[in-house]
Structure formats: C-alpha cells, structure tokens
C-alpha cells in the first residue's frame, strides 16, 4: 500500500485471504491507510517522543538527537 500500491491486486488478495478473513483485511487496510496519512503529515511537523528509550524526559532538541535519524523514507527502507 505504501511503496507499491499497484501490487495490491486480486492475486495479492487471494494470498492474503489464506491468512486473514475479509473483516480482518478491512481492519488492516484502514489501519495502514491512516498510518500512511498521518505519519507523512506529523513527520513534517518535526516533533519527537517525549521520553528516551530508558524513560527519561527529553527536550525536543535532545529527543531529535535520539530519534531524528529514524527512517525518513519507506522507499529507502524497502530498497534495503
């Protein structure tokens, strides 16, 4: 859905149905669709988690150092 939506075709659905019911497929599609939408927008707003992985409260500048290099492109991830 994210990096190659054309690949989500009838054959793909036939395979998906071997593992998930139609109800579960709808649930997954809605979840993935929302995530596609909001990660792009929220990513552009440049805000980062309030806490470090150890649970320490961080300023946004500190948090950017922790999390700022997190994957910025799903296509990059897919290429890897």
């Amino acid at each position: 859905m994210s990096t190659n939506p054309d690949a989500v075709d009838a054959a793909f659905f036939d395979t998906l149905r071997k593992h998930y019911s139609d109800d579960e497929i709808v649930e997954l599609a809605l979840f993935i669709g929302l995530n596609l939408g909001f990660h792009t927008f929220f990513g552009s707003l440049k805000f980062y988690p309030l806490f470090s992985p150890e649970g320490r409260l961080l300023t946004q500048a500190e948090s950017e150092k922790f999390y700022g290099n997190a994957p910025s492109s799903l296509k990059t991830q897919a290429a890897k």
Partner: protein, 179 residues
Amino acid sequence: MTYVTPLRLEAITDPEMLELIAQARAVGVPDDLFPRIISRAPEQAKPIMRALLMSFTQGNVDHRLKEIIRVLLARFANEKYFASLRSRKAQAMGLTEQRIDEGCNAYEDDAKEFSEAEKWALRFADLLYLDHTQVDKEFYDNLKKHWTEAQIMELGSFMVCHYGMQMAMRALGGRGDAA
C-alpha cells in the same frame, strides 16, 4: 468491484453508524459504499466515519477549498471511488467542476485567480504526499503568513484522514483511472 464484499445496508444496525451514514449522504462524501465496507471492522468504522465527516465539514477553512484538496489527493492516490464523489455542500456554495479542475491542475496560474492563501494550501496538499521533504520549516513559515496554526492543523488533519482512506479504498479495490 471491490475485493471485499460490502455489507448489505440492512446489516448495519448500530444507531450511531446509521446516523453517520445519513450525515454522509447529506454531504455526498462518502456515499453508502464506503461505510458498508468499513463496517466489516465496526470498532474502526465509527471513529473513521466521524473523522472523515468532521474534518471535511467543520472548522475554519472554506469547505470549497477542502473539496478541491480532497479531489486533488484522490487523483494523486489514483483512487476512483473518492475521486468520483462530489460534495453537495460545496456545490451548493457554488463550487463548479471547472474550478475543481483548475484547483487540481492550474492553481499556480494567476489567470485562475486563486488567492495566495488558497495557493499555499494547495501547495501544502501537493507537496505533502508527492514530496514531503519540501514541507519544511521555510514552507511552514510561508504557510503561516496566510493561515493560523489552528487552520494548518485543520488542513493537515483533514488531509491525513482523507488521503489515508483513499489509499485504503484503493487497496480494497476502489481504484482505477481517477475521475
């Protein structure tokens, strides 16, 4: 034809969902097909319908501009279902098909007379899902010259909901050549 069979409308009995479907019918977006599909996941269906309707029909950004942005995003997504629907509310406010096409394809053309605020909102939609790397601090500084931070969040949240569901519908088989 969608990959997942929509529920029959009679199978949807939740009063709140039926009220949301009635609200959507009045607006024209979405029509009954979308709620009939997403009601297969009833816990997700109601909040998603609420978010779609609220972000589209409420707030402080002109509904006609939102309708142009919604169609523009659906065309990006190559998602025929949502790209084919039209807001009756926007039509009643005077939005024409020609203006939608101008907003999608030629808003930078000064002859089309989009305001600077409208142009920046349309650039926001254009870039967010085509090249989000250009939506940076400088871009937001320009956007803030024309829109309040509340309006920017309203526009962003609206685009999040509608683009996300357009991609979901495309995956579920609502795709085709965009209208």
